[in-house]
């Protein structure tokens, strides 16, 4: 039976870029454990020789004709931006200054 600690939930939240609160860590640890225990039932199925299915249709390498078509204009692309500057997305710093 899978167990998931509060620390593991904190780690998952960091990986998933979620600044969860202390209360959420308690809540999610309990809930994720219950859910994981339930979904772990997939391991009961003897499936060593069974190939995995990632996709119901199983299409591969779908191409369309190599014809240029208009994309978004700069104005359209920036229309929903939380912040923009000089025709570009303005984002917070990505590097430490040190």
């Amino acid at each position: 039976m899978p167990t998931i600690s509060r620390d593991e939930v904190a780690h998952l939240a960091r990986l998933a870029r979620l600044a969860v609160t202390e209360e959420e860590l308690d809540l999610f640890a309990g809930q994720l454990e219950v859910i994981l225990t339930s979904v772990a039932r997939v391991s009961e199925v003897a499936a060593e020789d069974i190939p995995p299915t990632s996709h119901a249709v199983g299409l591969t390498d779908v191409y369309r004709a190599d014809i240029p078509r208009p994309g978004l204009t700069q104005e359209q692309a920036l229309s929903g931006a939380p912040a923009s500057e000089a025709g570009r997305f303005r984002v917070p710093r990505i590097l430490d200054e040190s």
């Binding site: 939240a13 990986l15 999610f28 199925v45 978004l72 929903g80 917070p92």
Partner: protein, 518 residues
């Protein structure tokens, strides 16, 4: 006095509009008035655009006046669009704070096809956040209520679309179905909901939850209306590389043929895994009655076992969260949507984490973390890898079943609509709502829910699920249409028309108290 326009089906409305007995503008106005009257309590809509809707209706009327043929069999008919399809002229929120007020710079293919078909889009409907949920309670903008009982959920994630159709706010709507989000709401609101074959309806501009499972489809009050809408939105789209490059199955023809009520020679399989313990007795009794009606119509009914279906739910709750954890990474507060904490001192990563924390609700966070876990090195084989193998076994069970029968049937969902709040703190109990609908998403075949009367213990709608092989959507329509006619005949009229407080009503624009049974 004629029945109010809001009581008519889409095909009836279209016939009268195209014959110029009534105008599309009158029809749009009647539905907008109905929305004004009942939506304050039902809360099916997140956004309405009366002005643009009336302009679209006017365009249809003007075309008909000039003598142009209607743009499609549904030209001039009002529709509600699930708020997960992009629309350039309306916000697209997916029921999430992170996209509140977002105006997409492009239309989804489904949106574009509806516009080109002259369908009048009245507004966008409420949903569980990013389509994750079975009750519409996970919407950041408040729950939708079930028109049959306002204390109960309308199902989910497409509870808004189903409730809008059930409450006569629109005759037809669009939903999306990743694990049952069209069929389960339809079952609990007494409407018809169809998940087409995966790839049958373009996903371009459908905000992705689980890309290998998501599929748009129609919601309606009759099987024929669902088929007409399916025909409008279906078909190959070069902008979606998983779109099937083949004609839309003959769904309209099948719905019309089915209405003749002859199912002789049709082999129907009852899925033995979906009728025992854990099912509400009234749901099972309604289901057994439906089976006997199918027999009366000439169908040959046998029991079919699909043992892998017992593991469909755990496989789904590994695959869907895994894909969601990847898909929802795009909501990073950089290019569109919410941004929190950008004070000049914080890094992009910190801003991203604060934005996602503030912008996502609890169920979305749970699923993102669950998917992150299942895809982690060390757990991947045991969880995601094993779930993909179970998916293969489910596909094989379907293949074996469809060697014996033409369609499979089951209850659409184990219970009738549950009470608002009843399952919000118990994710697993909520997940059980999709027990019977999930296998078709994993296999990518076609499945629908058609009203199967009311459960005798609580008087709430029950759905009959009909499943057909991939690309044989028409089979499900034929069986559902035949069943619909038989049930209506036996029960003295369509179930949808028996909404409480509305029986025998003949006056347009009923007051709200009557409608909602207050």
């Amino acid at each position: 006095m004629n029945a109010p326009l809001t009581r008519l089906s889409a095909s009836e409305l279209a016939a009268r509009i195209h014959a110029r007995e009534i105008s599309a503008v009158e029809v749009a106005r009647a539905h907008l008035e109905r929305i004004t009257a009942v939506d304050p309590v039902v809360h099916a809509f997140l956004h309405l655009d009366a002005e643009r809707a009336l302009a679209a209706a006017t365009a249809t009327d003007e075309g008909l006046q000039r003598g142009d043929p209607p743009a499609s069999p549904l030209a001039g008919v009002p529709l509600a669009l699930k708020d997960v399809f992009t629309t350039v002229d309306m916000p697209t929120t997916c029921g999430s704070q992170i996209l509140q007020g977002w105006r997409p710079p492009y239309d989804a293919t489904v949106t574009r096809r509806l516009r080109e078909a002259g369908v009048v889009i009245l507004g966008k409907t409420n949903m569980d956040e990013f389509a994750m949920g079975s009750s519409t309670e996970n919407s950041a903008f408040g729950p939708t209520r079930n028109p049959w009982d306002l204390e109960r959920v309308p199902g989910g994630s497409g509870g808004g679309s189903a409730a809008a159709v059930a409450a006569f706010e629109v005759p037809i709507a669009i939903g999306t179905d990743t694990g049952g989000s069209i069929r389960q709401p339809s079952a609990v609101t007494g409407t018809v909901g169809v998940k087409p074959t995966y790839g049958g309806v373009s996903r371009y501009g459908l905000v992705a939850f689980s890309s290998s499972l998501d599929q748009g489809g129609p919601v309606a009050r009759t099987v024929l209306d669902a088929a007409l809408l399916h025909q409008v939105i279906g078909g190959h789209d070069p902008l979606d590389s998983t779109s099937i490059d083949a004609p839309v199955p003959p769904v309209v023809q099948a719905a019309r043929a089915g209405a003749d009520g002859d199912l002789r020679g049709v082999r129907v399989g009852v899925i033995s895994q979906f009728r025992g313990e854990g099912y509400q007795p009234g749901v099972l009794r309604a289901f057994e009655l439906a089976i006997s009606r199918l027999r009366e119509l000439g169908a040959q009914v046998i029991e079919v076992s699909c043992p892998s279906f017992d593991h469909a739910m755990p496989a789904y709750y590994l695959i869907a969260p895994s894909e969601c954890s990847s898909n929802l990474a795009r909501f990073d507060g950089m290019r569109y949507g919410l941004r929190i904490g950008d004070d000049g001192s914080r890094s992009a990563e910190e801003v991203m984490a604060l934005t996602r924390e503030a912008g996502f609700g609890p169920e979305v966070k749970r699923r993102i973390m669950l998917g992150t876990y299942a895809l982690s090195a060390g757990y991947y084989d045991a969880y995601y890898g094993q779930a993909q193998k179970v998916r293969t076994l489910i596909i094989r069970d379907f293949a074996a079943a469809f060697e014996q029968v033409d369609v499979l049937v089951s209850p659409t969902t184990p219970t009738t609509a549950f009470r608002i709040g009843e399952r919000v703190d118990d994710p697993l109990a909520m997940y059980l709502s999709d027990l019977c609908t999930i296998p078709s998403n994993l296999a990518g075949n076609a499945a629908l829910s058609v009203p199967a009367g009311l459960s005798d213990e609580d008087g709430l709608p029950v759905g009959l699920q009909v499943i057909a092989p991939a690309l044989a959507d028409d089979r499900a329509y034929r069986v559902a249409a035949a069943y619909e006619v038989a049930r209506d005949a036996a029960e003295g009229g369509p179930l949808a028309q028996r909404l409480p407080g509305l029986a025998g009503e003949s006056i347009p624009g009923p007051d709200m108290a009557e409608v909602v049974g207050l």
